[in-house]
Symmetry: C2
Subunit: 188 residues, 2 copies
């Protein structure tokens, strides 16, 4: 399949079948991730793959707590209806863990290190695309407190995202995009 088609057909999925994801597929996704570029080739990422029900339940509970916290803080009514049940059926979760100590020369710049985080995001995007080519659906999930997940997974660095992976339970509609003319211009 053509890359642009892979990119466009990849959509955020919030409803999964419980069919397991094979280790081979998980490892293809992580191979894609680790071939992302990073500042000074520091490879600031690591990955924790969760398929254990007990840990998935804990992540679900934390997401629920975080959703309620955000609802209270923001007053955004849709958050109250944001259904997190898919965290119970999704067969695999891949926590993407970033190490701020593995950034580039940006550590010396105003605003502090950020390149490690951007590299991890590029790695996530590679994972999502790899899953799409494998017929798997994904969600880039961040509704959790990083400190709480850190303790839960027993990691030293920072869990930036938990990528949900599995077969979609239903087709996912495309989200509308701005036109190219609205987001770009030339200086020439």
């Amino acid at each position: 399949m053509d890359l642009l088609t892979i990119i466009k057909e990849r959509r955020s999925c919030r409803s999964y079948l419980s069919d397991p994801v094979s280790d081979a597929d998980i490892e293809t996704m992580i191979s894609a991730a680790i071939n992302a570029p990073s500042p000074l080739d520091s490879q600031p990422w690591s990955f924790v793959v969760v398929t254990q029900n007990e840990t998935k339940e804990k992540i679900y509970a934390e997401a629920l707590r975080c959703r309620n916290f955000l609802l209270e803080k923001s007053g955004w009514k849709w958050l109250g209806k944001y259904d997190l049940e898919f965290l119970k059926s999704v067969p695999a979760m891949i926590a993407v863990v970033g190490d701020p100590k593995k950034s580039g020369a940006d550590v010396f710049m105003e605003g502090g290190p950020g390149a490690w985080r951007e590299a991890c995001a590029a790695a996530v995007q590679n994972m999502l695309l790899a899953a799409q080519t494998l017929g798997l659906s994904t969600l880039w999930f961040t509704m959790f407190d990083k400190g709480i997940i850190k303790g839960m997974l027993g990691i030293e660095a920072i869990p930036l995202a938990i990528v949900m992976v599995g077969k979609a339970a239903a087709p996912v509609a495309a989200t509308p995009r701005k036109g190219l003319g609205d987001v770009m211009r030339y200086i020439r």
Copy 2:
């Protein structure tokens, strides 16, 4: 070409032929970018494509200033030898501009908004991969002061990266990667 091959063969290029990049190729890259996922589908990105020599010269001058600033701050000797001449021959630069106001519920979380930045990084990765399928080489460049580039390009939001694009002047060697076993584990 297989996605994993595209991902693995894409390498950071620091030496370009001056052959121009077509508008069609630039726009394919930006189409790939804008189909990245973003928090609440906020699409926090915009793009400024620079092919004008005068502006490229200014970006080169800023990169040089930034390199010397970083050399002084860090004491990293390699920075003194880091050759920036490729900024003069690269035919196109695409500034990726991110808007922190277009983040997600993370604005209410500790550490403040970060998801806009991660979405822009995912958009950059899509651009780099799209370029690879077009036979173009790229570099995710960040050696500049964001405030200075902001003023130079006349933009409101934050220039997170300038993606260099063109035909490679010479083959680029792969960078070594850690093995999968060193970066992942299962909880099951």
